[in-house]
């Protein structure tokens, strides 16, 4: 990916924010994720018009309108498909995708695993609050089995949560990281690395929902960095993901793998195709 550098002076993250006030609740982790995104864009000095940020539906998925890059607030669970079409048609753009744990891992699960496998050059930010915020507090695929606060699952889901990193790895993603909204600078650095990585990069951004998971405000005391640097060894990465409690942050896995982009050329004409029909 080539980044169009616009000016020599350091660019301010503010340049990537729009004037729209977020609908988010006070204290929502998503504010910090938004900040990390704009910081990363500033650090990379990307021209606003060369960046597209696409999303699905959820509190998290509101993020594009709060930036001043090209945005698309699509439908629930389909942001990665939207982005794959855009990237296939416009390979020179920097394509970012953001959305929630429900959007990406529940309804959007199929596009997630297929995007990992396809390994197009784009960055996917899962703003994971272990809950459906927008629909007022139901369990998501990353919710712990014994969380009983949703009336839809009054005994808890009873299901082992997905580990997005483990799924991404098995599905073929080439860059996998976990960050935390409580450390927006660290998250921004991670996003810079993810955007610079050639291929499909997944960044799980733990981002608490104080309204429906107030207990997660404790995350700031629990979350710490991984002991290890990132690895390119899938088995080692799998081992580390499994050994972890899901609360260590850092780049977990990074590997150069064939990046997919449709093959195209200019070698034919419609007239020529029409000739084929002549008898």
């Amino acid at each position: 990916m080539e980044h169009t550098v616009k000016v020599a002076n350091p660019i301010k993250p503010k340049q990537y924010k729009s004037a729209i006030k977020p609908v988010w609740c006070p204290g929502c982790g998503h504010y910090a994720v938004l900040n990390a995104i704009t910081k990363a864009l500033a650090q990379l000095a990307l021209a606003n018009e060369q960046v597209a940020l696409l999303s699905g539906i959820g509190c998290s998925s509101r993020v594009p309108a709060y930036t001043s890059v090209y945005g698309f607030h699509g439908i629930h669970g389909r942001a990665l498909a939207l982005a794959s079409g855009l990237k296939a048609a416009r390979p020179e753009l920097t394509v970012l995708v953001a959305g929630g744990d429900g959007d990406g891992l529940s309804i959007g699960g199929n596009h997630f695993i297929h995007a990992c496998r396809r390994n197009m050059d784009m960055t996917y930010i899962i703003m994971d609050n272990e809950v459906y915020g927008m629909t007022k507090g139901q369990a998501s695929p990353t919710t712990a089995p014994d969380w009983t606060k949703s009336k839809l699952t009054p005994h808890g889901t009873g299901l082992r949560p997905f580990q997005p990193a483990a799924l991404a790895l098995a599905a073929g993603a080439s860059f996998i990281a976990r960050g935390f909204s409580g450390d927006p600078n660290g998250l921004a650095r991670m996003l810079v690395a993810a955007i610079e990585h050639k291929g499909f990069s997944v960044v799980q951004a733990l981002s608490p929902c104080p309204t429906f998971r107030p207990e997660h405000m404790d995350w700031k005391h629990q979350i710490r960095a991984f002991e290890h640097d990132s690895t390119g060894d899938a088995i080692l990465a799998a081992q580390r993901i499994q050994a972890d409690d899901g609360q260590s942050t850092g780049i977990i896995y990074q590997r150069e793998l064939p990046v997919w982009q449709p093959i195209t050329r200019n070698s034919g004409s419609i007239d020529q195709f029409e000739q084929e029909f002549c008898v």
Partner: protein, 573 residues
């Protein structure tokens, strides 16, 4: 041969899948082209990939043909494998001839009860006489001779058709062809195709290829799709060609992905499409609604098959009309077009792409298995220059409002890369800027705008094909047009002048144009291939048809025939 000359002939060649009946049929079409004839070959096949029933249903004519005839003059059966599954699709009468290999066993009752004359012929044995002989080529020889096709031209066509498969196959095929060509029938068919076709340049293509070509002509340079019968061949035709035009086709993980990919590409400024069939269209509706609300141009070509649910994937029906017209939640104005025949697959798809781009609208083009998988021998379609502007693009000046309330309802669109055009496209209701809004005023302004841009456009005369006169009108749509055209012609030849209105543009409704087309009409006969009369109900919903209406509606898989329509008109006319 001592036979009478006819303007057209219908021939069915049946055999199990893999027996090569379609190859033989395609070659017959090519041979007919050499003589300046027209033709149509419909494929009848079942769910079996190999070894199932299969039939090439051919109609050859000195005049353009766009539908099957009411019956068949000749049935040539290589075998009787599962023939009963589609016997109903090959109506025979006492005037018909059946050529069958006695080695294939007894003729099924469903066939023999027609009273057709039977000529037993040892096709397999004849094929066996030469090394690697093929019964389908024996049959081809037989038919070529009977139809008066030129021997050496036929040989050349066979050579060309199998060139890719190696010399042995070519020579074996030719040898079998000779065996057939040399065979003298005991009961030669009573009628042959008259000579003297026209010399106008011909195309041989399928409806699927036609839609593919129309899409390219319209400017489509990206497609994303998931395979489905009977749309797959359109995608397979497009994939290598899009690539050669600097575009691409992406095989998606499912239809939910493909429609969203197409929206993404179009948002990026590249005209984009997908193709599917009923079950896939059902999965695309939520995404299609996003295209409507976000005003991102997209085209979906939907090739109809028997429904509901998985239905009858290999057979034709006009029953995805409802879902195409009304399948979205909310008030969701969009375009629906239908291809009237093979050539119209080209025009209609190009028109849809251009309209969709100009109006920033989501469009559905309806084709069907009968159109899509039939091969037609037609006059080379002229290419009309359509007076439709390209997508209105934003320029780099002043503050940008993506969903600005313009007079014609079309708001200039910024494409990523444009320096001061950054905005967020949204499926949430929004203000002019794109900012989400739940205010009544914004909602109603944007609903008005999205409707206005479609309703204010002047679609001209292309909304329908109209012909004929008199106070009885046939109203039909899509592929039923072929049979209706022929019915009108037959009636006219018999002195009954009727009007035919064949609808190509279904949404938005062309109320005024329809009123005009119906001036003086006292009786309407609606023709459609649907059990629940979807088209009839659509007509009632949108048009002022205050005269006696009759409905000729029945489901697939049997195609509507001209005779059926003629009978209906004459019944109470």
């Amino acid at each position: 041969m001592p036979s009478t000359q006819r303007q057209d002939l219908s021939i069915a060649i049946t055999g199990s899948g893999g027996a090569g009946v379609v190859s033989a049929g395609t070659l017959l079409l090519d041979m007919a082209a050499e003589l300046g004839h027209y033709g149509l070959m419909r494929k009848a096949y079942g769910p079996q990939i190999r070894g199932g029933e299969s039939a090439a249903l051919l109609r050859l004519s000195t005049r353009p043909v766009h539908c099957m005839d009411d019956g068949f003059d000749l049935l040539l059966a290589l075998d009787w494998q599962n023939t009963d599954r589609f016997a109903a699709e090959i109506p025979l009468s006492a005037d018909s001839l059946i050529i069958a290999d006695p080695a294939a066993g007894e003729i099924p009752a469903a066939i023999s009860q027609s009273g057709a004359q039977i000529e037993p012929l040892p096709l397999k044995a004849l094929a066996g006489e030469t090394e690697g002989g093929r019964a389908n080529m024996v049959a081809l020889g037989l038919l070529a001779r009977w139809l008066g096709f030129d021997h050496s031209a036929a040989q050349a066509l066979i050579g060309a058709a199998y060139a890719g498969k190696g010399e042995t196959i070519v020579s074996n095929s030719l040898a079998s062809f000779e065996r057939g060509f040399d065979t003298v029938l005991k009961h030669p068919p009573a009628q042959v195709l008259s000579t003297g076709g026209s010399a106008a340049p011909r195309w041989q293509l399928s409806g699927n290829e036609g839609c593919g070509l129309g899409a390219l002509r319209g400017g489509v340079r990206f497609a994303a799709a998931y395979p489905i019968t009977p749309a797959s061949e359109m995608l397979e035709w497009l994939a290598p060609r899009l690539e050669q035009l600097g575009g691409s086709l992406l095989q998606a993980e499912d239809e939910l992905a493909s429609i969203n990919m197409v929206i993404g590409a179009s948002y990026g400024g590249v005209p984009a499409m997908t193709a599917t069939s009923g079950p896939g269209l059902a999965l695309m509706l939520e995404g299609f609604g996003l295209a409507i609300a976000s005003e991102t141009p997209v085209v979906v070509v939907n090739v109809m098959r028997g429904g509901p649910s998985t239905g009858i994937p290999t057979k034709s029906e006009q029953t995805d009309l409802n879902i195409a017209l009304y399948g979205m939640h909310g008030d969701a104005p969009h375009l629906v077009l239908a291809a009237l025949d093979t050539a119209d697959c080209v025009f209609c798809t190009e028109w849809a792409v251009r309209l969709s781009e100009a109006l920033q609208a989501a469009a559905i083009v309806l084709s069907d298995q009968g159109l899509a998988q039939s091969r037609a021998l037609i006059d080379q379609p002229e290419r009309r220059a359509l007076q439709i502007p390209p997508r209105s693009l934003a320029t780099d000046d002043g503050p940008y409002l993506r969903y600005a309330l313009t007079e014609d309802g079309v708001s200039p669109m910024a494409i990523p890369g444009l320096e001061n055009g950054m905005y967020t496209a949204d499926g949430l209701e929004h203000a002019q800027s794109g900012k989400p809004s739940s205010a009544a005023a914004d909602h109603s302004a944007q609903l008005d705008k999205r409707q206005r841009k479609l309703e204010n456009h002047d679609y001209g005369a292309d909304w329908a094909e109209t012909s004929g006169g008199g106070d009885t009108a046939i109203i039909t749509w899509g592929s039923s047009t072929g049979a209706a055209r022929e019915a009108r012609q037959r009636l006219a030849e018999a002195g009954h002048e009727v009007r035919l209105i064949s609808m190509r543009l279904l949404l938005p409704a062309s109320v005024e144009a329809m009123n005009k087309a119906l001036e003086g009409v006292g009786r309407i006969v609606v023709v459609e291939q649907s059990h629940s009369q979807q088209f009839y109900h659509y007509l009632r919903a949108y048009y002022d048809l205050d005269v006696a209406i009759e409905v000729l509606a029945r489901p697939g898989p049997l195609p509507i025939t001209p005779g059926e329509i003629v009978n209906r008109i004459l019944q109470q006319g």
